[in-house]
């Protein structure tokens, strides 16, 4: 290979003996490739050169170990303050990728690692797409999750490549696919192991054979029957997202159906999407998420072994999650019979997420039942997750303290006890940190990392890095009852139960909050948390001197503890609440129920439980599912007053 004489800041160009040109995107100053305007301008110059002397074939690949291309440069979205700038951003990628798609020489995207958004749109503009068969290889168009649309040709080319149904599903959910699935869908021309990727890329280009075409039915759904596909897609979207909260998925369907995927044909729609409060807030949420991830970076700490004590729902699921993320985990409880159910749940979770039988077996092998607690001695991170009893936890922590490595992180997953009441039994009380997961562990992205006064900063940093290592979002909080998430949910659930006492039907209350954009109504949430837990936590969290709501007290007294007993504020059949029909929602109900949550969030920021308003918003969104399009409770409050 020899290098091209022209030098670019972000791209490297090499020509091999067969005359194939390999262009490598290695964005300067970044660990991840994104398609900034500078990167696209250079690509345009590159294509100018190839127009003058067309190569025998052109291969795009990445110079980053992180992946191919993560997408557009999201920072640039925040500067779109006029309609013209929004249209200009769309035009830049749309025109360039149309040009790439129409070159005379064969082109190929060699996709290893993430290939998302604009990255996949670039790959789709190539004649061939070759996917490297590794777990990290993911292809998708997640624009919808930022409240925007894949305007650089994704809405045009993905349906042409894999058919309308599969393409709409990917674009409307933002879900990505792995290398094998990409091959099955026809998105990738082939899926190969790393060791032959270069050979395969060269062979595909040199052979330059016609791509697989869509079936006649799929061609109809992209053509005369597209109205049918659009209607079905709208119906699907309506089940998950209201147009007034999330306009982007509806716009994607419209632009595909009416404008052949060309967003420039609908400039007014583009403007209403790109500069909508939803897009602004979702982009903000994206950056808040990056900020949370950032807390776990900047440390070289890497845990390899985790020891979890307590194989109940939380402990067992924490252990399983760590094993799924590649750590070796020992799970301790009073006997192997107590641990077995956790292994069963782990297997069910792993099987959904891991398709390769060998990988599945390896994940199960990493999760080791350890009734004797042999793993504690060699663990990097030790997590206590037994039942919420002060004396039991103190005794256990004291035992562990004497046993584990001096440099190991010792953490409690307590949600209701004070770290200050627990850490006194340790030789060095500064050692204990809180690592507070939410249920279900595999679905809740947030983990609170709790600092008691005087906690060892090194241990807190390690705990935070560990949370990031297992792909959860670490939120640093100070020790206070309920930390952030449970503390703000308490008064909100209390207000909802008071409304039940006032005579409103639970279904009406839940409907009001679903309409606001919550993922689950507050009454159903109480049932899921458990009425016993709500009673126990109730008084301290609610900060309310009054009696617990009578609907809670009565059912608790009757042993109706929620979903787990089959009866709480709702009755349950096969794990599903029987809600009945919601009545007319009284005006201002949602606002009234939210008020205590908003107040408490503000209070916790001023008390310093969480460092600032943005982190509070991030915590409440990722910890409770609080309507993301609002940008979080405090952002909502600000905009409401504005």
């Amino acid at each position: 290979m020899h290098s091209d004489a022209t030098s670019y800041e972000h791209w490297q160009v090499e020509v091999d003996a067969a005359g194939l040109v390999w262009v490598t995107l290695d964005k300067a100053g970044e660990s991840t490739n994104s398609l900034s305007s500078a990167v696209l301008s250079e690509l345009s110059l590159l294509l100018d050169g190839f127009d003058r002397s067309p190569p025998r074939g052109l291969i795009f690949r990445s110079g980053k170990s992180a992946g191919f291309i993560a997408g557009a440069d999201i920072q640039e979205f925040t500067r779109l303050d006029t309609p013209a700038k929004g249209v200009e951003l769309v035009r830049r990628g749309w025109d360039l990728f149309n040009r790439l798609a129409s070159v005379t020489y064969p082109t190929l995207a060699l996709v290893r690692g993430h290939c998302l958004g604009g990255g996949l749109e670039l790959a789709l503009a190539c004649r061939y797409l070759l996917a490297v068969d590794e777990p990290a290889t993911r292809m998708g168009l997640p624009e919808v999750m930022l409240g925007i649309v894949p305007g650089w040709g994704g809405m045009l080319r993905l349906p042409q490549r894999i058919g309308a149904q599969a393409a709409l599903d990917m674009m409307l959910t933002g879900k990505s696919v792995d290398a094998k699935r990409a091959k099955r869908l026809g998105l990738a021309d082939d899926c190969v192991p790393l060791r032959v990727m270069d050979n395969a890329a060269a062979m595909l280009l040199l052979a330059d054979q016609a791509r697989r075409t869509l079936s006649p039915l799929q061609r109809l759904l992209n053509g005369p029957l597209r109205g049918l596909a659009a209607r079905a897609a709208r119906k699907q979207v309506a089940k998950r997202a209201r147009v007034e909260h999330y306009p982007a998925p509806y716009a994607i369907i419209d632009i595909w159906e009416k404008h052949h995927g060309n967003a420039l044909a609908a400039p007014a729609l583009i403007d209403s999407i790109v500069r909508s409060p939803t897009a602004r807030n979702l982009v903000r949420v994206f950056f808040m998420q990056e900020r949370l991830k950032g807390f776990g970076k900047g440390s070289t700490y890497q845990a390899q072994r985790v020891h979890v004590v307590g194989a109940g729902v939380m402990g067992g699921d924490i252990a399983a999650w760590c094993a799924l993320r590649g750590l070796t985990v020992t799970l301790q409880d009073q006997g192997v019979e107590c641990i077995a159910p956790a292994l069963q749940r782990a297997y069910a979770t792993f099987r959904q997420r891991i398709k390769e039988p060998l990988e599945l077996r390896n994940a199960m092998d990493r999760l080791i039942p350890d009734p004797e607690g042999h793993g504690a001695r060699s663990a990097d991170v030790v997590i206590e997750a037994i039942f919420e009893n002060l004396e039991a936890k103190r005794a256990l922590l004291q035992q562990l303290d004497a046993l584990i490595r001096p440099d190991a992180v010792l953490a409690t997953n307590t949600s209701s006890l004070r770290i200050e009441d627990l850490h006194g039994v340790l030789a060095n009380s500064a050692r204990l940190v809180g690592i507070h997961f939410f249920n279900p562990v595999a679905r809740m992205p947030l983990v609170e990392v709790v600092a008691a006064a005087g906690a060892d900063p090194e241990m807190l940093q390690r705990a935070t890095a560990f949370v990031k290592q297992i792909d959860r979002l670490p939120l640093p909080v100070n020790s206070a009852p309920g930390f952030l998430v449970n503390a703000v949910l308490g008064p909100y659930m209390l207000a909802a139960m008071r409304a039940v006492d006032e005579g409103l039907a639970p279904a009406t209350i839940d409907a009001a909050m679903l309409a606001f954009g919550m993922p689950m109504g507050p009454i159903e949430l109480v049932d899921m948390v458990g009425l016993d837990v709500a009673m126990a936590a109730g008084r301290s969290l609610a900060g309310d001197d009054g009696e617990p709501p009578s609907c809670l007290r009565e059912r608790f007294a009757a042993g109706q503890l929620g979903k787990k007993t089959g009866q709480g504020l709702y009755a349950y059949r096969q794990g599903k609440a029987i809600k009945g029909k919601a009545g007319a929602v009284p005006a201002g109900l949602a606002e009234r129920l939210l008020e205590p949550l908003l107040e408490r969030t503000q209070q916790l920021v001023s008390d310093g439980v969480v460092a600032d308003a943005d982190l509070a918003d991030a915590g409440v969104i990722f910890g409770t599912g609080f309507a993301p399009f609002t940008g979080g409770p405090l952002n909502y409050l600000r905009n409401r007053h504005a």
């Binding site: 190969v192 192991p193 060791r195 395969a200």
Partner: protein
């Protein structure tokens, strides 16, 4: 047969682990085919020169005599080998049946005796095992096992690669033998994987598998270790040389090596 030659822990065929090594060190199909032709040529020459006489004929139940291994091909050529299709990574790979060892039936026999036994029974030893080493490594790179097994022996004795008069690296795959040489020549590999300050150096091809190897004469799994140890002792004696290293890669992620010396009789 394919099942037996698949690593159950990583789900890779042995040939795919060789593809991994070829990719890692940029070993081309041409390099492998050339190495394989040399293996046949050396085996043919050794047979003609009487240097493979430890291989004895077999007679089957019908009285048929098998005078010679039938895998050794005098007419092997790079042009011929380049026509074969990759077998393990079917479309895009580089490892073919032609540049892999042949799956052969076979047995080898040698007697290992203690120094006391040699004296007591007045045995005429061919040579002695001065040192030996087993090593583990990533199963997906198992073909580099010889590097991990032989290097500690060299270090223990203060020897460089060219202080060994003759080498036998079992030819499971041409890619894997060439990979071992490339690993020893690589600063990065020696630093990261062997904790050496820099590359160990170049193993002269003239000292490596001088009478051909498993690509030509076959790789009867389970017998090959004994075969190369026995052959190396004969080869050292034939060359009037003193010191040899026999080493082999092991599916599952291991390597074995023995430092041998001839004994004056």
């Amino acid at each position: 047969m394919l099942k037996g030659l698949t690593d159950p822990n990583i789900g890779l065929l042995m040939g795919q682990t060789a593809e991994n090594i070829a990719w890692r060190f940029g070993i081309t199909r041409h390099d492998m085919d050339q190495f394989s032709v040399a293996s046949h040529q050396r085996a043919v020459a050794a047979r003609a020169g009487g240097r493979l006489d430890e291989i004895v004929p077999l007679v089957d139940a019908q009285g048929k005599v098998y005078g010679q291994d039938d895998g050794v091909r005098a007419d092997s050529s790079v042009a011929g080998l380049s026509k074969l299709k990759p077998f393990f990574d079917r479309r895009y790979g580089r490892v073919t049946p032609g540049n892999s060892s042949q799956i052969s039936d076979g047995a080898a026999w040698l007697i290992l005796a203690s120094e006391a036994a040699v004296e007591r029974w007045q045995l005429q030893a061919l040579g002695k095992i001065t040192d030996s080493q087993w090593a583990g490594l990533d199963p997906a790179q198992m073909g580099l096992g010889p590097v991990h097994a032989a290097t500690p022996i060299l270090l223990r004795h203060g020897l460089g690669l060219d202080d060994i008069d003759l080498w036998e690296i079992n030819e499971a795959f041409a890619a894997q033998v060439l990979g071992c040489l490339a690993a020893w020549e690589s600063d990065a590999y020696c630093r990261e994987q062997l904790a050496l300050p820099a590359a160990l150096g170049v193993l002269p091809r003239a000292r490596l598998n001088v009478d051909g190897g498993a690509v030509a004469v076959g790789h009867p799994v389970g017998a090959s270790g004994a075969r190369i140890v026995l052959h190396l002792l004969h080869a050292l004696r034939a060359a009037n040389a003193r010191r040899g290293m026999a080493t082999i890669c092991i599916g599952g992620g291991q390597g074995g090596a023995m430092l041998l010396e001839t004994i004056d009789r």
